[in-house]
């Protein structure tokens, strides 16, 4: 239980173990058998399970989504991958109108056990069409389950749950997480969908964060600690079903809410969390909830413009300090030595 593996390895292991346990599982997507294997999250699977179970596909995201839906309805459990959520926009019709609805509209006669993995992210000049974080588009749709695992542990446990789930699950994975390691059990295990995770307990403020922003929130919490502020960090993990209880419990304890999303605020996932908090925990709130997100324009490509686009730990810390009417000076906004802001870490050298 003290084995550390990366997020990508954890995803790969989840697929390997479910492929192994259940003949009906297949893995399909552009570049799945590619030596680089979707940021290494599918590496080696085709070699192990053969091209009938782990396969590439034509550049036909729309039809191929329909194909996995039809395959799922007739007994398979397909896991499909898109290298960018942006590419999946071509398949929205199948996801929103079909995958999300066949179970309901046929009164339970069909099941659509598909998992659609989509990569979101930022940095390194991905620009307006390769770095969107479009989770709220999926999270709005009843019939879908929508998850954003943050840690390698949850990546494995939630992907196994998703593959075993009888419903369409959209999994959004942040590119900057693939290399990050965590303690991950070797045997198969399940992390339930629809449960948030308290990553750090605190009493002064609740930070609900999504995906990569949880790392920024944890780092902000450390900074805040040095200033005597005790932040609770809740990693949302699932957008639908939404774990209202964990969020509300935390707010009831702290009386303050910050929501940190990986994208812009307007009509985004952060609005739902803020609305939920006020609708159901109004009397606990000691101040207005605050959302943290990128500005209301597409992501520019040049680092000179993009560096300012993404809020980070110091921005979260600043928002908390402001909320508590504490001085906001002396926060460190520069990246660590040897790293630029468009890389998750110094070893990351592009090109995607």
């Amino acid at each position: 239980m003290n084995r550390q593996i990366s997020y990508a390895e954890a995803l790969c292991e989840a697929q390997r173990q479910t492929l192994d346990a259940d003949d009906q599982v297949i893995v399909i997507g552009l570049g799945v058998p590619d030596p680089k294997g979707i940021f290494n999250s599918t590496s080696g699977l085709q070699e192990e399970f053969g091209p009938d179970r782990v396969m590439d596909m034509p550049l036909s995201e729309n039809a191929m989504t329909g194909v996995v839906i039809g395959a799922a309805m007739t007994g398979l459990r397909p896991v499909m991958t898109h290298q960018r959520v942006d590419f999946a926009m071509t398949a929205m019709e199948q996801i929103i109108n079909q995958a999300a609805k066949w179970h309901y509209m046929f009164n339970g006669q069909h099941k659509v056990p598909i998992v659609v993995r989509m990569v979101v992210g930022r940095g390194w000049g991905q620009g307006p069409q390769h770095s969107q974080s479009l989770q709220s588009l999926f999270a709005h749709i009843p019939g879908l389950k929508v998850i954003m695992p943050t840690s390698a542990h949850d990546a494995k446990g939630m992907l196994i749950s998703a593959i075993e789930d009888d419903n369409p699950v959209i999994s959004l994975e942040h590119r900057w997480l693939y290399g990050i390691k965590d303690f991950v059990p070797e045997e198969p295990f399940r992390v339930p969908l629809g449960k948030a995770r308290v990553m750090r307990e605190g009493t002064d403020v609740t930070i609900v964060s999504l995906s990569y922003m949880t790392l920024e929130a944890l780092s902000a919490a450390e900074t805040l600690e040095t200033r005597g502020v005790n932040a609770e960090v809740v990693d949302l993990r699932s957008l639908r079903p939404l774990d209202e209880q964990t969020i509300l419990d935390s707010i009831k304890k702290t009386g303050r809410l910050i929501v940190a999303d990986t994208t812009n605020k307007m009509y985004g996932a952060s609005a739902e969390i803020a609305a939920l908090a006020t609708e159901k925990a109004f009397s606990s709130l000691r101040g207005a909830p605050v959302r943290i997100g990128s500005p209301e324009h597409p992501a520019p490509t040049s680092p000179a413009l993009a560096d300012q686009y993404y809020p980070r730990a110091p921005h979260i810390a600043a928002a908390v300090l402001e909320m508590l009417e504490l001085p906001v000076d002396g926060l460190r906004f520069d990246p660590p030595e040897g790293r630029r802001l468009d890389q998750p870490n110094a070893s990351f050298t592009g090109p995607f």
């Binding site: 297949i26 009938d52 596909m57 034509p58 036909s60 729309n62 039809a63 191929m64 989504t65 329909g66 194909v67 996995v68 839906i69 039809g70 395959a71 799922a72 309805m73 007739t74 007994g75 398979l76 019709e93 199948q94 109108n97 079909q98 066949w102 179970h103 309901y104 509209m105 046929f106 009164n107 339970g108 006669q109 069909h110 099941k111 659509v112 056990p113 009843p142 019939g143 389950k145 009888d166 419903n167």
Partner: protein, 323 residues
């Protein structure tokens, strides 16, 4: 391929079943108790009857907005269809779907959905899973001429050919997409079969008002699929008599040329087939009339079944959101 007399009479019977069901809807639709859009296939029965007769009950079929014929052809339960259109608990989707969402899994009818083009890859997915599981099972994917304009059909053709999937695309070319004639949507230099063959998809066309021709072409195609020789595309020319959606004729309101409508009605697939069976002494007129009348009675009793069925309990509206 010579058809047995039984098959030929079955084809007649199935066309009668579809026609009488649709006519029953026509008679009752104005009562405003079937409270959902209906897309009738009167005039196109030969395709449904012919194509579905060529496959087994264990084979799959999938359809779109205009699915009554495909559903019944494949053996779908008539009472459950009518009840579904009436929004009743006994409907094939428990009232959640309506006319545009028929399903009968026992009969291999996987479902229908009205976003044009979208059920094509879903049906293909069923064929893909049969293929991966090495099941002896063919899938019929019904589509219209309008669907041939959607990108997803092209993506589906490519994947079907690439993986040699056991699927037959059955395209009913009825010359219209809602009220839009072919020439505002597709160039006359483009033939539907050529698009299929362009993808390396074996294709044939035939008379969609001749159930036996439809049967023969579909049988060939499904035989090939069963042999592992992959997918096919079939285009059948036919014609919808009534308005796109609803129970009326639309030529009196000027939507289509009266002459065009009349000339197609003169080529009524059912009476053509009836005459053929009589001329070739396969059946006596009285026998065919009896068959037709029996279907009429079934349709009427299905309507009655639907009317007498209970509505779903409003409290079940939130059932089956998740499996």
């Amino acid at each position: 391929m010579a058809l047995s007399p039984e098959t030929r009479i079955q084809l007649f019977q199935m066309q009668a079943a579809i026609r009488t069901a649709e006519e029953a809807i026509v008679r009752h639709y104005h009562e405003q108790e079937m409270r959902c859009p209906v897309h009738l296939c009167i005039g196109q029965e030969a395709v449904s009857a012919g194509a579905c007769a060529a496959v087994l009950r264990s084979d799959y079929a999938i359809s779109h907005h205009r699915s009554h014929g495909h559903y019944l052809g494949k053996g779908g339960n008539l009472n459950a269809m009518m009840a579904e259109i009436y929004g009743k608990a006994t409907g094939c989707s428990g009232g959640k779907g309506g006319s545009m969402h028929l399903i009968d899994l026992d009969a291999g009818f996987l479902g229908a959905a009205p976003i044009v083009g979208s059920t094509i890859p879903i049906g293909l997915g069923a064929a893909f899973s049969a293929h991966l599981k090495k099941e002896d099972r063919v899938t019929l994917v019904f589509l219209g001429d309008g669907a041939m304009e959607s990108g997803v059909v092209h993506e589906s053709f490519n994947f079907a050919v690439l993986k040699k999937l056991p699927v037959v695309f059955v395209c009913e070319n009825n010359l219209y997409s809602v009220n839009s004639p072919m020439h505002v949507r597709q160039s006359h230099v483009r033939r539907l079969v050529d698009i299929a063959t362009g993808h390396g998809l074996p294709a044939a066309d035939g008379d969609g008002n001749d159930a036996e021709a439809v049967y023969r072409l579909t049988k060939d195609a499904t035989d090939r699929a069963r042999r592992g020789d992959g997918p096919s595309f079939l285009e059948f020319s036919t014609y919808r008599w009534r308005e796109h959606c609803g129970q009326n004729f639309d030529h009196p309101a000027g939507f289509r040329d009266e002459q065009e409508v009349v000339s197609w009605m003169e080529r009524d697939p059912i009476s053509i087939h009836r005459h053929a069976l009589i001329d070739e002494k396969i059946a006596h007129p009285d026998e065919l009339d009896r068959i037709y009348a029996a279907q009429e009675a079934l349709a009427a009793s299905a309507i009655e079944f639907a009317i007498n069925s209970p509505f779903p309990d409003p409290n079940t509206a939130a059932d089956h959101i998740y499996a």
